[in-house]
Symmetry: C2
Subunit: 351 residues, 2 copies
């Protein structure tokens, strides 16, 4: 019996505890719950129910004579079963669009701006992981001379991300040769290569083919690298507003760990599914963050998830808002990467 599912009343009380605690940051007592609870009960009854909820591990007391606060399990239940969420926040989306419209025209700027906006509405730390190179997505190569014997190899993804690498050779390469090379690199046509080589003067041949080989090598390297992601983060200072992080010590280790990119790889690896993901407390997988929750989602190129976006805040965060906003943002980013966002019409990329 004590095993079974929670009674409706208990759910209601748990819900009230979580929401009250989220709002006030202080343990909630039976008194306060009377008003918040749908049922018309006396404090004493509530106390009994709370004792029950505590014995099942959903809530706990910071000390004997205090009210209750949710445990990780309590938050989990709240998020999984009690939270009613809308999937899209139109208001925020229109804000995002406005933001984008104002003269940001590069993908990177859009991502930066997204992270800023998300942080500023949620009042939590926002993170966007942006892909640097997406396997399987069509892309063009451009070799550009940058003075001397240095060349910049640009890899331009179909959806607008640019990646650049330096390449250096000993020989001088003419503009004409460079153009040929570019053609070659994009066509991947071995026959054409040989043909072109035939048309060259002897002394040119060497530099030409060397540059070609190097470029090929770099391309291969890029393809073989496991997906690197760039981290964009904003709003870390919001942690300082939260009463549970008043302690300078705790917040230090937390921020420190947020500054390391590995942290995100760890957090975001539990990527499965199409859904939005909520990690609570220790679920985040690193102990510096056991007082935090993370709400995140993937955004996609076609079907393939290419990046993540999320917010990080205290466990006490407004999950409803966070889920809605993160979900909206992910959708927005997906549509931008897939060029099907109508952004052009609205003037974002327009010139």
């Amino acid at each position: 019996m004590s095993e079974g599912i929670l009674t409706a009343r208990r759910k209601n009380i748990l819900n009230a505890v979580v929401e009250s605690y989220i709002g006030s940051a202080r343990p909630v007592g039976s008194r306060a719950l009377v008003q918040r609870c749908q049922y018309n009960l006396s404090p004493a009854t509530i106390r009994n129910e709370m004792a029950e909820l505590e014995s099942r591990g959903y809530i706990t007391q910071p000390h004997t004579s205090a009210g209750r606060i949710p445990t990780d399990k309590g938050y989990r239940f709240y998020v999984d079963h009690l939270l009613k969420i809308e999937k899209i926040d139109k208001f925020f989306l229109s804000r995002l669009n406005r933001e984008y419209r104002s003269r940001r025209r590069t993908l990177e700027e859009i991502i930066r701006e997204t992270s800023k906006a998300l942080a500023s509405v949620t009042h939590h730390t926002a993170v966007v992981l942006a892909p640097q190179f997406v396997k399987g997505s069509p892309s063009r190569v451009e070799l550009v001379a940058t003075g001397g014997k240095r060349f910049l190899m640009l890899l331009v993804s179909n959806f607008g991300l640019v990646e650049d690498k330096f390449i250096q050779v000993e020989e001088q390469i003419s503009g004409k040769e460079l153009r040929k090379l570019n053609e070659l690199l994009n066509n991947q046509d071995r026959e054409a290569l040989k043909e072109s080589l035939l048309g060259l003067k002897k002394e040119s041949k060497e530099g030409f083919s060397r540059l070609y080989r190097k470029a090929q090598r770099v391309l291969r390297e890029i393809h073989n690298e496991k997906d690197r992601k760039k981290v964009y983060m904003d709003g870390t200072s919001f942690f300082l507003d939260e009463p549970e992080f008043k302690d300078g010590e705790k917040i230090g280790v937390l921020l420190r760990s947020l500054e390391q990119e590995e942290t995100f790889e760890r957090i975001f690896k539990s990527t499965a599914g199409d859904e939005i993901k909520v990690l609570i407390g220790r679920e985040c997988g690193c102990k510096e963050m056991k007082e935090c929750s993370v709400v995140f989602a993937s955004y996609r190129l076609g079907e393939k998830p290419i990046g993540k976006v999320g917010v990080i805040g205290p466990k006490r965060m407004d999950y409803r808002q966070a889920v809605t906003l993160v979900s909206s943002t992910a959708k927005r980013l997906s549509s931008i990467f897939n060029h099907l966002d109508g952004v052009g019409k609205e003037g974002v990329h327009q010139v």
Copy 2:
């Protein structure tokens, strides 16, 4: 007489006060100074001298029965007249080089890494402002098709920075036309434009010339924009280690203001001169930072300053170290941007 310059002994004492305070973060009393001071004096004498220094505004007491701490003026004097600095930290430079060598090949990664490294050795917040486009520096334009009617215009600076903008037209553009366009954009030859147009089919002409005009417009816009800089910042969490920032309030407003890019424009605008610059307390020009100091320098492309690098820390920072490291870093960045760093040989950009 009390106007004149400080006596050698007073300088020595001031120096001791500053350095002791930098080291310990607590007001220094006459006792402690006895040991630190070169002269062999009793506490009483030191007290007299300290009273004198205080009346001249170099040091002050946080409260009546405490030791002295330096005022902004005291730090200023210390930095201007008492600090003996070496200009280059070979050790750090070699660390930087090692860092770069390990497979970072894009300019942006180098800058990111620089900022990280500077933060991690100084244990202070490090900032690098990177140029996005440098006027007067030669650059190439490449238009790249990214599916549909979208084009990415790449602006590749001679020194290796890439900037990208989306351009969209209504018409379809063929690969051949695109190549022509690229040639045109880089040669700026009006005659050639007309000639190319003649060679085109009628229905192509329109799209072609429209794309050309748009590209030209974007180029002009970029040229007219006042220099935008990208901000790279690391190590903000180091502030939390400093005892003077134990207060959660203060640090909140500080970090918040560091998250805004305008702050840096304000700080770094006092650019004059070739030298390294030290701003102390209110000199930073914004009140959120009145407990901070900034040490920064410009790095250059040829003679022209194109970006800044610096550290931000408490006024109590180790100025000797900061000056040396910032100066080294600026030199290093300059040489990288100017392609005269021998990095190629050492393998940084090498492939």
